[in-house]
Symmetry: none
Subunit: 455 residues, 2 copies
C-alpha cells in the first residue's frame, strides 16, 4: 500500500471520515526504525490538513520523529488552549489476530477498525476537525488554539520535554486538553481526574561467574534464580498487599466521598474480566476493582529472566537471574522514595551467597486534577452537553508522564477528556473506534472551546 502523502488534503472537499481513513493508512509506527519516512509523511499530511483548514502549521524537528505544531488565528485578549495528541501508533503485530488489515481501515458494526483508530488518530483528528469545521462555519474560534501533535508518545515521548522547553514561548497557554484516555462505559462521558505515577527498577541477582552444571555443583552453590524468587516473593503479603515496609506510608487515603464516587461509576466487572481473559478479578483486600486500579498503588513484575528458556531441559545452575519491576503510585507517593524503600527491603533479605544489583529506571509522579477548578467545570459542562448525561470522574491506573511535564514546563493543568470505548483494544489486534465517538469528539471540541473561553 502506498501512502496518500502526495494527494491533496482538503477539508473543503473531503468528508471527516475520508480524512480519518487517510490518516489511518499511514503506518506511523514510531518504534520501528524503518518507518521514519512514513512518520514524516504522516506528520506532513497533518500539516497540510491544518494549513488548508486555516491554521499556521509546521512539521517541527524534535531530535526524533517530528512533531506537528499548529496555531489558529490569534486574537489578543482571548484565552489560549493547547490540544495535545500523537500521530504515532503501536506496532500492529501479531498481524494474524486482526480481522482486517490494521492499516486498511474498514467500518464494521458502526466501528472503525484500524491500528490507531482510537489511540490516538481518531481522537486527535476529532479535535482537529472540530476546530477546522468551526472555523469554516464561523470564520473564527472562541479561543486562541494551538495543536501539539507528537510522533513519539508510544516510545515514551523521549524528545518532547526538550522540545517544549525550546519552544516554550510558542506553547504558552492557559489550559491543555487531551483525548487519550478511556470512557468508563461506551457513550458515558468521562473526565479523568487522576493518573497513577510510576517507578521502575531492574533487580539482577548474580551467583556463580557462569552457568554451572546443576548436578555437579547443585546443592553446594547458591542458585541466583532461587534467591531472586525468594526476594520477589517478599514484594507482596499472602493477601495481595505490597509488603515493602513503608510502601503505603505516604498514600493519601480516599475520602468516603471519593470512594462513593468511584462506586457509582458504571464499570461492568464481568465485561472487564472477560476482556482481560483472567480467571477472576483480585487484588488488595478491602478495595474494589476501580479503587485497586485508580487510587491504590501496586508492585508489578513485568519480566523475569534466568538460565535456560528454550525447549526441554538444560540442567544449569544459572549465573544470574533478573526481574523488571514497576510500581504504580498514587498521591502522595514519590517515585524516588518508593525505589529507596524497595531497595532497602530487598537488601535486608539478600542472602550472603549472592550479589544483587538494583538498576533504577524511569519514573513519573502521580497526577491529580483539582476538579473544583473553573477549567474542570467547563470541561464537565461540555461533556454533559455532548453526551446528554453528567460525566463520570475517572481515576486511571495508567501513567501519562507528559501531563506532569506540561505542569512543570508550561505551568498549567491538563484536562483528560477520553473518547476511547472500554473495548477499543488500544495496543491490541482489532483496535477500533466507534463512529459515534468520532462524531461526538468533533462536537465536543467545539463546545469545549466555547466553555473554556467563558471559564
Amino acid at each position: 500500500m502506498t501512502s496518500p502523502s502526495s494527494s491533496t488534503v482538503s477539508p473543503h472537499t473531503k468528508s471527516d471520515l475520508d480524512l480519518l481513513f487517510e490518516f489511518l493508512r499511514f503506518r506511523s509506527i514510531s518504534t520501528n526504525p524503518d518507518k521514519a519516512s512514513e512518520m514524516h509523511s504522516c506528520a506532513d499530511w497533518l500539516r497540510r490538513l491544518l494549513n488548508e483548514g486555516g491554521f499556521t502549521a509546521e512539521v517541527a524537528e524534535t531530535g526524533g520523529h517530528p512533531a506537528v505544531l499548529a496555531k489558529g488565528p490569534h486574537v489578543p485578549g482571548r484565552k489560549t488552549v493547547l490540544i495535545y495528541g500523537h500521530y504515532d501508533v503501536q506496532p500492529a503485530d501479531p498481524l494474524n489476530l486482526w480481522t482486517s488489515p490494521p492499516f486498511d481501515p474498514v467500518i464494521r458494526n458502526k466501528r472503525i477498525f484500524a491500528r490507531g483508530a482510537t489511540d490516538n488518530k481518531g481522537q486527535i483528528l476529532a479535535h482537529i476537525l472540530g476546530a477546522i469545521r468551526l472555523l469554516q462555519a464561523e470564520g473564527s474560534l472562541p479561543v486562541n488554539l494551538v495543536f501539539l501533535i507528537e510522533g513519539e508518545e508510544e516510545v515514551g515521548s523521549v524528545n518532547l520535554a526538550e522540545f517544549i522547553r525550546a519552544r516554550r514561548n510558542e506553547l504558552r497557554c492557559d489550559i491543555i486538553a487531551v483525548s487519550d484516555t478511556g470512557m468508563v462505559a461506551q457513550g458515558w462521558p468521562t473526565l479523568t481526574q487522576s493518573l497513577r505515577g510510576i517507578a521502575a527498577m531492574e533487580v539482577i541477582v548474580r551467583g556463580p561467574s557462569m552457568d554451572l552444571h546443576s548436578g555437579v555443583f547443585g546443592g553446594a552453590v547458591a542458585n541466583p534464580a532461587a534467591a531472586l524468587v525468594r526476594l520477589l516473593s517478599l514484594l507482596h503479603d499472602d493477601e495481595g498487599r505490597v509488603a515493602v515496609p513503608g510502601f503505603y506510608d505516604d498514600v493519601t487515603p480516599p475520602t468516603p466521598a471519593e470512594r462513593a464516587a468511584l462506586a457509582a461509576l458504571p464499570l461492568d466487572e464481568v465485561d472487564f474480566q472477560r476482556e482481560t481473559g483472567a480467571l477472576l478479578l483480585t487484588g488488595e483486600p478491602g478495595f474494589t476493582t476501580l479503587e485497586r486500579i485508580g487510587i491504590r498503588p501496586t508492585a508489578e513484575i513485568n519480566g523475569l529472566t534466568s538460565g535456560y528458556q528454550g525447549e526441554g531441559t538444560k540442567t544449569v545452575l544459572p549465573a544470574q537471574a533478573s526481574a523488571k519491576l514497576t510500581f504504580r503510585l498514587v498521591p502522595c507517593q514519590k517515585p524516588s522514595r518508593i525505589l529507596d524503600l524497595v531497595a532497602i527491603h530487598l537488601r535486608n533479605h539478600q542472602p550472603a551467597s549472592v550479589e544483587m544489583e538494583i538498576v533504577r529506571g524511569h519514573s513519573g509522579m502521580p497526577y491529580v486534577m483539582d476538579t473544583r477548578s473553573p477549567w474542570c467545570a467547563a470541561a464537565l459542562r461540555a461533556l454533559e452537553q455532548v453526551f446528554g448525561r453528567p460525566p463520570a470522574l475517572m481515576r486511571e491506573g495508567g501513567s501519562i508522564p507528559i501531563v506532569q511535564t506540561f505542569r512543570e514546563l508550561l505551568g498549567c493543568e491538563t484536562l483528560l477528556l477520553g473518547l476511547a470505548a472500554p473495548d477499543c483494544r488500544a495496543h491490541a489486534p482489532d483496535e477500533n473506534f466507534p463512529l459515534e465517538n468520532f462524531e461526538a469528539g468533533i462536537r465536543l471540541h467545539q463546545i469545549l472551546l466555547r466553555e473554556l473561553a467563558d471559564a
Copy 2:
C-alpha cells in the same frame, strides 16, 4: 564453518589430536531441531573412524538422533566390554562468554577449549583411539569390545532404552565402562561409585489471555510472574533445605563410614569455590560440600521466563510465567514420587486467580556401585597404573540415567572412570579438556581392557 563430514577419517594418517579437533567441530547440539543433519554427519564421522580403525561400525537409527554401534574383532571365550559415550553436546550459548568460538577448538595453557571437549567427545574419543591404537599395534584386543555412542545424552537419552531393548543381543556384555564423570582433583584418578538421579519439570502459570497494560489493569488482575515467584519460593526453607513435604522421606542416611570416606577426599574447597565464581559455598545445613553434592538431594531452578526481557522497561502484566526445575535424587528416592510431591506442594499453594500447568520432563534413578566387585577392583588397578596413585571413590552430583537402564536391560554394572578436570566447565562457556587427560584416557583404555580381561 562447514562440517568436515566428507573428508577422510583415517586414524592411520591423522594424529589423535587432529581427530579430536575434527570431532569437536561438529555442532552436534541434540536439543536443537535444526541440527539434525549435523548430528547425522557427526555420527557418520564416528562410523568411518571406527571402520577405518578395524571395527565393524554402523550408524543405527533410534527414532531420534542416531547412535553409533561398533564391534571389534570377536574372539570366543573372551570377556565382552561395552564402552558407552555420547557425541551430542549441550547448546553453546551464551556465545559472548566464550574466549574462542565453541566449535572452533583451540589449545590454550595445555587445554583443549571447545563445546564437548570434556563432555563427552574428548573422553569417548580417548577410549576409541585407545582401542584403535592398541589394535594397530598388536593386531588384537584382550577383550571383545563394543562401542555404543549415542546422540541424545544431553536430552535425556529418550530413545536409548528402546534401542537397547531392540538390540539387546548385540549389546550383551560382561561389564560396561563410561568416562563421563569428574576427577576429584586434576590428575587424581577417580572412580565414581554413585550418581544422583534426576527428575525434571516445567511449571507454567497463566493469567490474562494476553500481556496486559500494567497501569490500566495492574492491581485488579493477578500477575502470573508474581504468582510463580511465590510458588517457587516455597521450594526451600529459610535455611536451604528443600521444603516440599515428604521430599526427604525416602533418602537413605549416610553411614559414619561413608561420611568419613567423603571427608577424606582431596577436595580443595577454596579451589572449588574459586572455580564456580560464587561468593561462598552454601547449602543444606549440617552437611559438607561433598555431601551436599554427592549424597543429598536438591531442588534447582534451571530457568525463568516471563513478560518483557529486553532493554529498558515495558509495562506489561504478563500473560504467563514459567520455570524449569530439576531435582537431583539420592538412594532411595524415586523420580515419579518426587514429581508427585512437588506437584502436590505447588497445587496446595496455587492461588485461585491463575492457572498452572505442570509438564513432567525426563527422569533417572539414582545409581550406586558395589565397590567390592572384581570389576571395580580391576578398574581401580587400571586407574592407579595410569595416574600413579590410589584412586578416589567419588560420589557424583550429576546424573547418568543410562547406567540404570544398563543395569535393568543388560543386567550388568557400569564403571565410571571420569577424566573430567574439576574446572572443565562442562555445559558452560569455555568448556575445556586438559591435553594430559586426553592422553591419559587413551592409555587408561588400553590398561583397563587388560585388567578387565583378567578380572
